[in-house]
Subunit: 164 residues, 2 copies
Amino acid sequence: MPEQHEEPEDPWKGDGGPAPDLQTYAVLLRRMNAEFNRLAQHFAHEHGLHLTDVQALIEILDADPGTAVTPGRLRERLQLTSGAVTACLDRLEKAGHVQRVRDARDRRVVHIHYAGRGRELARSSFRPLARSTEAAMRRLSDDELRTVARFLTLMGDELDAQSR
Amino acid sequence: MPEQHEEPEDPWKGDGGPAPDLQTYAVLLRRMNAEFNRLAQHFAHEHGLHLTDVQALIEILDADPGTAVTPGRLRERLQLTSGAVTACLDRLEKAGHVQRVRDARDRRVVHIHYAGRGRELARSSFRPLARSTEAAMRRLSDDELRTVARFLTLMGDELDAQSR
DNA sequence: TATATAAACTCAATGATTGAGATGTTCAAT
DNA sequence: ATTGAACATCTCAATCATTGAGTTTATATA
């Protein structure tokens, strides 16, 4: 029996065929997540940072402009103890990426702001991610892009709800 | 001027409106990735494991059935040093989740197999993820699901290529 | 004024990870 | 056969991020 070496260039391409099931999605999502983390880790190493530091920078970068980023917020978002957050911010501040600013109204809280090339650094950390995303986006129509964005939003909301 | 508090229940819903841009996608993807990691970390903690151990279990779970999982493979996939991989596998083996088996043909290499409740544990680690995914999937048509699967596949391929 | 709660920090202990090197294995060349 | 290079994994001491308990400073409540 000769090898049936089929090359599925672009699965789920046509309108026909079966719809992908949960298991398929799970694998696809896990794979993407793993690739993400690989990139993040690679970037971190390249800049003498730790994965935690990069995650913190992302959290600060993507924070809702209305919501101030505080050590406490990082604690719950990154699942760290307060000691770990302090150490992480010490590293980022010493490296000149962020700056701690005491809140004038409630002097217990500290706000984290970008300093120096922090924002630029955070953005550049996703240059490779952006490149990949762009490449993938180019192969979808506007209509399809809207569909995917809708799915990603739904997933984000669901996962957010799940973790509470 | 009264607050214009619009509530965008489900953005990108209609066929009209502008197509989402790269920046929008970047934020959505980063958000989802962060939520993933939160879930993974939570699960790890719940089972007395480390994030690294969970990532290893995933890697073993999702490995191409044809490709055997070896410490070396984990080393490059999880970006660890060989010492860290050994320690990780020691923990997983001692806990009875995996088993090391020397390859009969090339006695230098070790194959990692599930042992005891390892596979079940790995699967259960994604129960919450599966729940969220299912909920999100339910709100898309078969056609849309195919589109999203196509995007996820493209992203996975692009990221894979990027990290080399 | 006292008391409770809160946010962030300190610091010693823990333990995962690193990095250099050891061990055992395969393969090609001599 | 024997030597030597490449390889996969493991060992182990040192490093360093993280933990966990407790401290400090500030706010809110009675």
